[in-house]
Symmetry: D2
Subunit: 386 residues, 4 copies
């Protein structure tokens, strides 16, 4: 059954690349993003390095690929510069596919003898890169004046209006959050621990593009009093005037999607805002962002049915900086670099998005990005003090 999951997850990555031209695999459009070819290689390198190479007699497919496909694991050796991934035309896409096939064969032929926990981690890791592959690709295609379509029919605008925005009351008190131990979870979801909540309110749905447009129309990007100091500086340095991918044309706002450029729909859930924009919008709206504990508590609740769009629509910025849970300890060795060392200057996001592989997320899931990041499928759920 682990073999089936392995085959399924690895095949899903290839399926995401099916619509791509060879050329589309090569481009790195900014340091934060990676070429599709790199994602294909890096996820494979993970299995080779952390699973296969720990077995006696393992011989690497090509020892030089470690340098190219190591992302950030300092403990595993030298690695290429983060912003130079788009400079490597070789190995070719075909060669990377051969690498994948080779590693898959080695894994599958001896899967029962391999470290199952690390294999499962590798599959969760591959799912994370499936989402990154899509968002990185979206960014790369958006840089092209020809506005290429990745796959028609993706990210279509919803029909009809969004339901009215309502808030549900949530009690305060001492609660428990964090992984309860039933299935796989990342290290940073543990330990489960108590935390104290004050009474608050949570919005039943996400902020729409139309609502955000009202913020724009009200001078949202020209009023420093609505912004955090660092947010205002980021806005100014980068020249933000709207969410990423929004473009004002003569007939109104358009947006760029994996299905091509199209008109923005007021009813669609807002996407591609930074934490700074989310925070400014919430302040403008007389509200705030939820903390991660408030969000998780609500999402784990038996009767959270009143809250919609928790998963599968947009990652939701929380007001919580990404810090370790009380008692957290990073695993020993290179895998300890997975999460712990990023616990500074990043904000937690909760939920999942349309780009997240099905089954990947859960109520205790913690995503995190720097507050200026906009190229993920990030949106806003409002909260407020009771």
């Amino acid at each position: 059954v682990l073999a089936d999951r392995y085959r399924h997850t690895r095949a899903a990555t290839l399926a995401l690349c099916a619509p791509l031209a060879v050329e589309d695999h090569v481009v790195q459009s900014m340091p934060d993003a990676s070429p599709a070819k790199w994602h294909l290689g890096h996820t494979t390198w993970f299995f080779e390095t952390f699973v296969l190479s720990r077995r006696a007699g393992h011989r690497p497919f090509d020892p030089r690929l470690g340098f190219l496909f190591n992302s950030y694991y300092e403990a595993v050796g030298a690695r290429g510069a983060r912003d130079a991934r788009g400079l490597c035309s070789r190995p070719t896409v075909d060669e990377v596919h051969a690498y994948r096939r080779h590693v898959d064969a080695r894994v599958l032929e001896s899967i029962d003898a391999l470290d199952a926990a690390v294999l499962v981690l590798g599959l969760a890791h591959e799912e994370q890169h499936q989402e990154l592959l899509l968002t990185d690709l979206k960014h790369a295609l958006s840089c092209n004046p020809l506005e290429p379509v990745y796959r028609a029919g993706l990210e279509v605008a919803p029909e009809g209006d969004a339901p009215p925005l309502r808030f549900v009351e949530r009690r305060g008190g001492l609660v428990e959050i964090g992984d309860a131990g039933a299935g796989f979870a990342f290290d940073h979801e543990r330990p489960r621990h108590r935390t104290f909540l004050t009474p608050h309110r949570l919005a039943t749905r996400l902020v729409t593009a139309g609502e955000y447009q009202a913020f724009l129309d009200d001078g949202g990007y020209r009023r420093p009093e609505l912004w955090l100091s660092d947010g205002w500086a980021a806005r100014t340095a980068a020249g933000w005037q709207a969410p990423l991918y929004w473009a004002r044309r003569s007939d109104g706002w358009w947006t760029f999607t994996l299905g091509g450029a199209r008109r923005l729909s007021p009813a669609e859930p807002l996407a591609h805002v930074s934490y700074y924009e989310a925070d400014a919008y919430a302040r403008w709206a007389g509200a705030r962002l939820p903390t991660e504990a408030e969000w998780e508590c609500a999402a784990s609740d038996g009767n959270c049915g009143t809250l919609s769009q928790l998963f599968g629509v947009r990652w939701q910025w929380t007001a919580s900086p990404y810090v370790p849970y009380p008692g957290y300890r990073a695993p020993a060795g290179a895998l300890g670099e997975y999460n712990g060392k990023f616990m500074c200057n990043q904000m937690v996001l909760r939920g999942s998005s349309t780009a997240t592989p099905p089954g990947h997320a859960r109520p205790s899931y913690r995503n995190f990005f720097p507050p200026a990041a906009r190229w993920q499928m990030t949106g806003i759920r409002l909260a407020a003090d009771a």
Copy 2:
């Protein structure tokens, strides 16, 4: 009595400038720092803008000074570029002193009719700038190959050894932190609120320079596994190899102080480390940094006598990102920019330092700086899980 406090605080600022040459008032050695002349002017501008100018009939001393001496209050009008404060040779030091005298006279002649709360805030503000004036000046003098002495006898090394490092056990449970309302406190110290602590241990004294040297000697600055990812990047970009002001000479480590350059003493409390270095040191030492709640709880405790060096020695980096307390609301108007808009990408420091004016700090006091800042009198108190 408020008049006395006003006179006392304003005079203390001048006393800090007494040892300075006129030329020393002009220099800005980095964007984060300000010239002494600017501190003299800005603290005066604060009283003129937020106290005097709110009275009918007020005429500004010189309307152009608002542009020069406004620090960051976007709501009060245009302001000079943060990193261009060292370009203004005018107004001269004498002219700034005249500005101070003018504003002081106006304040004192009608002090009973002025907004006492804002006056008290202005005095707390001036005390904060007294510390900044010293730390900015220290940085400026340190850039000078002549290594000028600000005032002999400052920052002398202690005699004798530091006491052994011990940890005291602290219980967990639901506690209250935040200003309890007895005296002045900044907005961000409120509201007092409940939070949940897990059992933990706190070091009874601060880390010494000698202990930190062991970290250095053990390759602390060459081992990425000890550092946060952003910390390692900061170390690499800035070329950090030791705390700020440390210099390796043929006869060992020296440090630059307000009393001049001198040999480092192993017993002296470590100073001038960033959060990144504090965090890496703690990891190397098998410990962690305390949270601000743990720190405040201990400092407010009736029997915290077992903990030394809480105040008046070094600001102590905590593991807590600077975020609003539950229910925090920034004041309306320009004074609302005092703290709230900085609540992102900064870490809380607790305690106070040798450069802090006496009586300025308290257990609920929250200082905050970006994690890479090193020019403040920042040190380390270790903590650990129980």
Copy 3:
């Protein structure tokens, strides 16, 4: 016959791309370089824009390609950012080939009716891009840790020793330089004009890698007195310690070539030095670089047979800044941007290189690059005052 030349030149570009993987066409390794795909498109765009589109009834192949494939002609409309050429995965290589075929067919079907002078200019332009395609590709492949081979057998090291370095005496006096009008020449080779030379001496061959190594071994890269001020600054900022593509390995100096990485041969003509390095080497050698007039005079001389390696080996940095000849006038319109606007902060190179298409250069030919450029096939011929 023009049609034959057209077919020949266009086919030669494709032949250069024959050894490339699709992925190799996409990479831009630095702002100065362009992807192979861009060269294929841009040379085609030149014919479409300056030849075909001037005819009545012309319909562009795809109007959006102008934006992508316009290099710097401000007068022809908007253009993509110079350093973003590697971000465009589309049009694909196949689509660019289709564009080439389309334009070639349009040109060839009506070649007698087209502007022959601009066609000939377009072919000279394409030949320039053939050389750039090779040098840009060399740079891109050199950035890849896998050290891919473009084509085995290229840039092989010579066997045997270089002949001894000799200088020939050259008379001074009033001479004429510039294009004499027999065949095609670029605008900046004209007008032919008189200039005055002082007696001087010219080296009979180029500086070898072995001779340059002696400069290195003598501390050439550590002695500021040998360098121009801007050169020393460039060396320091970029960390130059040897010519581009040189790498010191345990068994001596290696170099990267289009035929792969190989040991450096002392006898091979030095390549990939900047003007700054050429100038510093000449100073170290007690010599200087020739002026472009000295070089051209010698190259045009009936009995310059004593001078070897004038053409087809390395471009030779001259001591002459790139300025207009007396009476030079840039052509009207967008083609006037070809050369004239670059006449500042660049140095003239004379001769041609192993990467220059046969027949492209001539004695009056003026190549030019900024003094810090190193990725061209640039070498050194020494000169000296008589």
Copy 4:
């Protein structure tokens, strides 16, 4: 008599500083500029280093000043970072004056035994720094929103109109330029040598501010076809929309001068343009800039009386890159760094300005600055082909 000249020149430097506040001596407003205090010290260091220290038994005033006041002489030892001169509040102005007095006394007490040639060079050097002191100061004061006045009555606008712009015809042919040896000249004015001129025309006076305004009004700063490529890039990066110090106010164009801010006069000679702007203006005007040989030839001419404003008004950008004259050799030792190493990426200016000390310049005088420099008193004299 050399003693008199020494006293006179040294006193002139002090006289320039007489209107300054102490604070004005400290500021460095950009890396290209230096604080007045630094000029006072550096010119003194020059005499100490190149004159006094070459005598047996010399003891430096303070050995640490060499580091602070060495400008760029790599051969004389370490030196402070060019852009950190404004960070040094010490030595104070008084201390620098003491240093001057000390060196002056040492020089004057033994002046007959000192190297007269280097002394004369040192005085010419001090005169150059007198002009730089003024232009650097002007830049520093211009950065201050208070717009301080250096000295009332300086740079007043002329009354009346400028005479009509005329061109005089100049013959071509073989001419001699360079220092003829009668008095002091810098190394780079030699050797006198022959060069060939084509017939040309020279404007009888400089371009006025009013004429330049017509260029502005005609879209001069928005039309790339008028600019060199590097010039257009400089304009864009720096946001140039007019010459330095011009400011558009509600009542027309103003300019900042050493005498304060005032309305621009159409009749005044244009100042504070870069080479790029001078070149673009000339192209717009259907003319070009003169070469340095054309300029010198005219200025040395017995009957150049038809040409006005050659000296004492504005430095005049020429079309000539700054390169060595044929046969030029830099002097041995550190003084060889005076000029030779800057012979790249700079343009020659001829004449002199209102800020040049009387008697400093001559027909063979070569000034040079990078083409983007604007803070000198630089203007335009037009030329044209015959």
